[in-house]
């Protein structure tokens, strides 16, 4: 065996990266918990039937599946199909397992139930930068609360959390699928055209209004409707919620978003840029109400998002349950922190000892330093140059037992 790379599309995390990721995970979790959400955990394996019944779109094609074992696997069977050899699937997101978890345990859970999940999911993406086949998702979801205060607590929690992990400047863009649907219908489109139109609208930020128009024409939509929709959208992009009612949007729907924005601003001392943005669609078909995305300064892709999906749990599990969630883009945030951030990681100290040092004294010194540092013993290496080259992956400073006893200072390792 010569190839020791991790499996294509997956990654090993060396100590520096692993520490950043773990600290990020713990900070996010603590903030979610402090805001009143509850950690749960589900297995990576899921029933194929459930996964296939989910609104997973392309993710279903990217699903990892495990092979049947023992007598259950009969490869000599004629006209073998994939169904004959598959045992179960690996989850491609955390929402499907959460729906199953809730259907299975709702008798033991309060209403509403507010869940935290921070766990790996798996998709057989074509490997490329930023597309991992195993990646961390980081979700809070509320099941069983249809009021806008569910969104208010969720979004306040997300803003708190971003702040705790170092994002002080953020914009939060909020839309509502109900508003969008009404605008699309007002432009003349039929109910069953709404989702096709929304898929194109989702690309507004990438391909602009002209691009969306072209795409809708290609999809065979009528030019008149498209033109009307574009006029409406341009007006709403300029004038926001104040103009939507004249295009048939119920005033309750507009007031809902105003309530959310007003209270979020008040709860966060207006330090964030929080606004209605009709161009926020969120691709997934399952959203039924509010949708939102978080943007950091100077980065064009969202670093988090979510929305309300009041139908999904019912369709999938037969248990009608209003649901709303926020997801923090863990992998993207981890990369940003790695690239830009000063981390307040606890300092790691390499404590060098010599063969003839009294080992009990060595440990006594280690113990005393452990109050301030994470401390690791290293026998003084023969090749100090080589040692210094590599120790920075695991330690931020170094001192020898001898120097420490003589009162010499602990050396900080130059940041590489």
């Amino acid at each position: 065996m010569k190839n020791f790379n991790p499996i294509r599309g997956t990654y090993d995390y060396l100590p520096k990266d692993a520490k950043i990721r773990e600290q990020l995970r713990q900070k996010i979790l603590a903030s979610f918990q402090n805001n009143g959400y509850n950690l749960i955990s589900t297995p990576i394996f899921e029933h194929l039937e459930l996964l296939n019944s989910s609104d997973g779109g392309d993710n279903l094609k990217l699903m990892f599946k495990t092979i049947k074992r023992g007598d259950k696997l009969d490869l000599s069977r004629p006209n073998l199909t994939v169904a004959d050899i598959v045992e179960e699937g690996l989850r491609y997101d955390l929402t499907v397992p959460l729906a199953r978890f809730y259907a299975n345990n709702r008798d033991k859970l309060p209403t509403p139930f507010k869940a935290i999940q921070i766990d790996n999911v798996f998709r057989a993406e074509r490997p490329q930068k930023g597309r991992n086949r195993q990646f961390m998702q980081c979700d809070i979801d509320v099941f069983g609360d249809e009021s806008i205060n569910a969104e208010l607590e969720l979004l306040k929690t997300a803003l708190d959390t971003y702040k705790k992990i170092g994002f002080n400047k953020l914009s939060l863009k909020i839309n509502d699928r109900r508003i969008l649907n009404q605008l699309v219908v007002f432009a003349g489109f039929k109910q069953d055209e709404i989702s096709t139109v929304c898929v194109s609208l989702d690309k507004l930020d990438k391909i602009s209004v002209t691009g969306v128009m072209m795409e809708l024409i290609e999809k065979g939509m009528e030019a008149e409707k498209i033109n009307k929709l574009v006029d409406i959208l341009n007006d709403v992009l300029d004038n926001g919620l104040d103009c939507v009612c004249k295009y048939g949007v119920k005033s309750d729907d507009a007031e809902n978003i105003k309530y959310l924005i007003k209270n979020l601003n008040a709860l966060t001392d207006c330090i964030y840029d929080i606004k209605f943005d009709v161009s926020i669609v969120r691709g997934q078909g399952y959203y039924t109400g509010t949708v939102y995305e978080f943007y950091a300064d100077g980065i064009s892709s969202a670093i988090g998002g979510g929305g309300r999906y009041d139908k999904m749990v019912g369709v999938m599990t037969g248990v009608d349950t209003p649901a709303v969630g926020v997801s923090i883009g863990f992998e993207r945030v981890a990369l940003l922190i790695k690239e830009n951030g000063e981390q307040d990681l606890k300092q790691s100290l390499a404590l060098l000892y010599d063969k003839d040092d009294d080992i009990l004294e060595v440990f006594k010194i280690k113990n005393s330093l452990m109050q301030k540092y994470d401390v690791s013993l290293y026998i003084r290496p023969k090749n100090m140059k080589n040692f210094y080259d590599k120790i920075a992956e695991v330690a931020s400073c170094v001192v020898s037992v001898k120097d420490h006893k003589e009162g010499k200072e602990i050396k900080n390792l130059i940041k590489i």
Copy 2:
């Protein structure tokens, strides 16, 4: 779909359990880090070639495998074998991935390299109590240090860690495969019989000396050798390290263990029961030196263990690397803590509000309480009895906005 149970052999963790497990994970990790080990992380997927070349024994039979995707999967092929449909395996332990990780990254890592891994592994065990198909392993390993001080730092770290998670009384039983091998050879067995004999000796605590004798006879070993071995073992069980040298054990090997025990006792103020125990074998074939197990008061199975495996990394990766590790039995420890332990979890408060409360005031109260509690908002439910029945899964105390404003005390929920 009617069955919302998790996949057979796996578990959902509800908020109370998930919180205990997460706190345990964080405490163990913090202790490992403070003692100078470095968190790394590898994917759950591994190269089949690597897994199959590992000394995995039965675990290889229990391995989960994923199915090839797209054009790579050709089910119409004649004489189809498992190899034709398999893409990769899921790791069945953390040692195989660590060996690959080290072979792949050793140019970037210091020597010795001290790794922490706390992650899920997967085995298709026949589901029964305590046998999960997905379970957490919790390992520290040192690669590239053949000195006994590697064991000293490892075992000191493990004892520290058990203390931090609540185990104040522990016994640590230490043996050395080199000593065991020399005793077996002295009894007359041949080099190539050693491992067979050791497999039986591993059952000493379960089937006693007589049982081991019976088993060795069944395996076709000569009665004379067996009797001699039993005499030797009985003497060593009674008299410990002081008598091993008369059975051909090198004095260096005995001194090694004495050094370890003496210094561990000194470093832990003799509060633990740390002793040489010739009956500790550890089943795995790959151990080459020290082996050890941790036992908690009143529990017959080990709650952790490990040993030295100086050949494994070389055999598997071609990179000769002395290696030694300790594993804390996360799942067993989590169960014990759940059954017996008082946990010092941060208190969770359910804050009830009424529809006509000022929502900004509600959040202001929530924020002020978040300094002491994890706080979650709940609209005052219509059915208080039902609410109280279920809220205990997620909260340890409850108060309403109205009562709080009137200065009433926060109610602790009766422990269920």
